[in-house]
Each structure stands twice: as C-alpha cells, then as structure tokens.
Amino acid sequence: MAGAIWCVVEDDRKGTPKKVMSEVLGEAARLGGPVEAVWLTDKATDDGLKQLGAWGATKVWLLENAGLAPYRGETWVPPFAELVAKESPKAVLAPVTSRLRELMARLAAKLGVGLAADTVALAMNGDKLVATRPIYAGKLLSKVTWAKQPWLATLRPNVFKPAEAQAGKAASVERVSATIPSPQMKLVERREEASTGLPELTEAEIVISGGRGMKGPENYVILEEMGGVIGAAVGASRAAVDAGWRPHRFQIGQTGRTISPKLYLGFGVSGAIQHLAGMRTSKVIVAVNKDPEAPIFKIADYGIVADLFEVVPELTKEFKRLLEK
C-alpha cells in the first residue's frame, strides 16, 4: 500500500527467507510500518511466506519467476522499480548481502532517489527518516537523510533487534505479474567454495579471528575446532591474509569484511586501527594476546594476556563442557 515500509527479502535460494529478515521486518515495525515484504525469487515456499507473516509482514509482494535466478541487476531492477512506482512505498529496506547491496544501489539510481548503505540505526524525526551509518570503516558515524521518498536503505546484519516470530500472524500474498527483461549477462557457472561447515563471516553471531600470532596457516584448525563447538565463523586479520595464511574472503577490517557479531574472539590479533575498524561494533569483544600492550585490549571487554596456543585448547574444552550441559 502507499506509504508502507517495504522489506526486500533475502532468501537461501531454496525458497526460505534468511533469518536476517527478522531484523529488517522488526525494524520496519519499530519505525511504525505498515510493514510489507517484497520477494523477488525463482522459488518461494509456503513455509517461507508464512515465516514472513510471522515476523510481522502484513503483505508479501511476490515476484516469482524462473528468470530471476541468479540475481542480475538488469532483470531485477526494472520490475522492482515498476512496482515501487505503482505502489508508492515510503521506504524500501534490505539487509546487506552480496546481491541486495548491488540491487538497492541500482534501484536507487533507477528511481533517482538516495540510498543510505549499510546503516546501523534508523529513526523517525518528525515525518523524516534519519539513518545512522558507519563511515571511515566505523571510525565515525554519519547521520543522513533523504531529499525525497522512497527512502532506500540497506541494514547491517546482526545490528537491528529481530522481530519475534508470532505463529498467529499471517501475511496476505499478492502475486505480481511482471515482465522480466531478457538478460544480457549469461551465467556460466557457480563455483562453490570448499565449505568449512561454519557460518558465513558477515552473518555469524559469533566470530573467531586469528591474527599474526597464529604463526602459520596450519594452526587455524584449532580456531575452526572452536568454531565448530560454538557455531562461530572463523576470520583473520589483514596481516594473516597478506601473509597468505587465509583467503581474502576471510579478512576482517577496513579492506575486508565489516562484522558486527554478538561475540568476537580475537587470538593473536594485535588490533591495528584498520582491523578495529572492521569489528569494533561487535557487542562483546574478547582478546587473547601475549603482548599486554596490544591495542586490541583497549576496546576488549575481556582480555587474557597469554599464549593463544595455551588458551585456545582450554577455551574450546570449557565451551564444550558448558554447551553439553
């Protein structure tokens, strides 16, 4: 409906919305709604649609079409922009993911409106939306506002309070028939990374990071073992990535991934300013380093000054004991 807050659905490519959508839908409700979801996909399951309702969407605009997989800006933007023009939502919110990051930028350009990317807070100021976004990789916060509606914003995962699923709530589903442009980009293949069996860095609620103190690539296995116990992603500092110990995709920091987990555990990470920039919005920070002067202790909630190779096995054991209870 006109004046609604739209939440763009990120899904698992198998018809189920990702958990991050509870955060986006929860925030849309806090902003006063009306909360509606927009789902562009090649496949939406009934359970997935129900899930969106349980998280607070009153309506789901569903564009389900085989031509929408894989994501391509050229196939997603035209039907989406057409729907926005027709239905006049006041805001369009999406989680930061690889494809929605690009989609929202292109959609903003197509509509000729502003985009607040990677926001960490949203608030109504009178009848205007104000977004807070980290800049200089989190060294400062910037408050921004839009010249006109719809207000487009992407939301950093793990920051916004998720909506509690309510079993009784259901969304009405409006199937949108849209013409999907034929794509110029042809998919050749999708190459899966060797799975670590651990969560994705930017989505994980707990992140373990290994720095130069790890001494070599062979030692990350002890962090992965801990990750397996507590369900954490394992990342690395730039020093470790530049040394070739870990692939680039695992780098946390200003020139890597920006993360905001509930718990960050840094082992042998000194805390160079560019690393801190990528993880300082983590809710709880734990640092283990031999060097009591390591800058990471300045922002850590808990620190242990000791050899990580003694701490890690002990800690994994303790976590195991705790979680087996």
């Binding site: 690889s98 607040a116 200089y136 839009w146 042809k186 999708r190 003694e310």
Partner: protein, 259 residues
C-alpha cells in the same frame, strides 16, 4: 580498447579521523591521503588488460577537490595514460547518486568499452557508485569481481563475482561496469620512471557545467557526524590460563550473556 577507471582519494587506513568544527565534515588537517585500496585493484586490472592486448588506453577519472590530483598522479604513475579531474565546488557534497551521474557524463564523453572501479571507497563506505553508474548508463554490471577475462575481439568479458559461499561466473557483453574486490590482483608499485613520467601526462580539469549535469543536488545529505559511543572499560582476567579461561567462560555466560 579504451578503459575508464574511476578512483577516489581517501584518508589512509591508519589515519585517525576526527570531526571538524563543521559537524558535517571531518578535520582534514594532518591526514595522509591515499588512493582507495579497492581502486588500486581496478587500476591494476585495467593496466593488465591493456598490456595483455598490447594496445588500448587507460583513463583515470576522479571527483574531488584540488588535492585529489595527487590520486590521479598516483594512477598515472602506475601506468594510466591520462586522467580527468572533475573538480567543482558545486559537487563538494556529492552523494553516490550525484557522483554516479557525474561519472556517467564523463563516460558518455569518453565512450570507453569498459569501466572499472573499486567495490567501495573506504571513506564513505557506501559501495554504491559502480552499480549506480551502470544503471544510469543502462549498462550491465558485476560487483565485487575476483577474476576477469576479455575475449579476443573485446565483445564480452567473463567475470567471477563474489557471493556468499562462492563465485558466480558470468559472460557479460561490453560495454559494462565492473567493481573490483580484493584478490582480483596484486597492484604494482609505481616505478621511479613511472613517477617521473606521470608528471608529463595530461590531467584534464572538468567542471560540472562541462558535463552538462542536470542535477547536482544530492539525494542523500549528511546532517551530522558523530564520534562512536565509547565502549565500557574492559577487564583483563588475571591468573593462570586454566583459571582465566574458566572465569572468561563464566563471564561470557553469566555477565555478558554472549554464549
């Protein structure tokens, strides 16, 4: 083939950034400026394409004040052939949309077959300009690319874009816009000869009016910058490793409720 590389001057990653007396801007005193690291991957890739093909032209373009010329000099020192400096106080508050419109105007004048940029500039961290430029131009685009090969007759580029859990490989007809992710290549350092040669290369100054920009009003405006909220003081847990670890786990569970 002609390649346009969009670059931005940003504060060095190790620089402390402070808010100036104008609460909407940073204090630029004492800042060391660098080429945004992701843009260096874009420059490097453009140069490699040219070298591999044995012909072509690489043009660097930036929006920014006078000091941004240093960034263009760095691009020229790495090997770009010439540069365009969109330098106009009217664009001082440009948001990503305004920047994309200005770059699109440059692209229309230069008519390159490929535009490369970094996945994001590490100052504003929006990561939107490349995709928005593509949309304004009506060109296909791929973001966060990790690999790229252009076919022999420069009609198509094969790219691998990074997505969660893997890489999606596409064939894209040119012209197109690509944004570079770390891992695409290892940028070269300028040689002394490159640095000397850069001084003789052309940097063309361009105003908003030269680009015939219809709209330079930003769609998104900064109302204020704020320092980060201070973190509560932390605690170093003393004792031997076994005891410290036990106390840490207890604290994480009972006090922080983080596990």
């Amino acid at each position: 083939m002609k390649i346009l590389v969009a670059v931005k001057q940003v504060p060095d990653t190790a620089t402390q950034v402070k808010i100036s007396s104008d609460p909407k801007a940073i204090d630029t005193a004492g800042i060391t400026w660098i080429v945004s690291p992701y843009d260096e991957f874009a420059i490097e890739e453009a140069l490699r394409i040219k070298e591999k093909r044995g012909q072509g032209e690489v043009v660097a373009v930036t929006l920014g004040p006078d000091r941004a010329k240093e960034t263009l000099r760095s691009a020229l020192a790495m090997g770009c052939d010439r540069a365009i400096h969109v330098n106009d106080p009217a664009l001082a508050n440009a948001d990503t949309m305004t920047t994309a419109r200005a770059l699109a105007a440059v692209v229309k004048q230069e008519a390159p077959q490929l535009v490369l940029c970094g996945r994001q500039a590490i100052d504003d961290d929006a990561g939107a300009v490349g995709a928005q430029l593509a949309e304004v131009l009506g060109w296909p685009c791929a973001s966060w690319i990790m690999e790229e090969t252009i076919d022999a007759d420069a009609k198509t580029v094969r790219v691998g874009r990074q997505v969660e859990g893997g890489l999606e490989v596409f064939d894209i007809p040119l012209p197109a816009v690509l944004s570079a992710q770390k891992g695409l290549n290892e940028p070269r350092y300028p040689t002394l000869k490159g640095i000397m040669g850069a001084k003789k290369k052309e940097i063309k100054d361009v105003k908003a009016s030269d680009l015939g920009l219809s709209s330079i009003t930003p769609e998104l405006s900064i109302t204020a910058l704020e320092a980060l909220p201070a973190r509560p003081p932390g605690r170093i847990i003393p004792g031997d490793v076994k005891d410290a670890v036990k106390e840490l786990v207890r604290s994480l569970r009972e006090d922080a409720k983080a596990i």
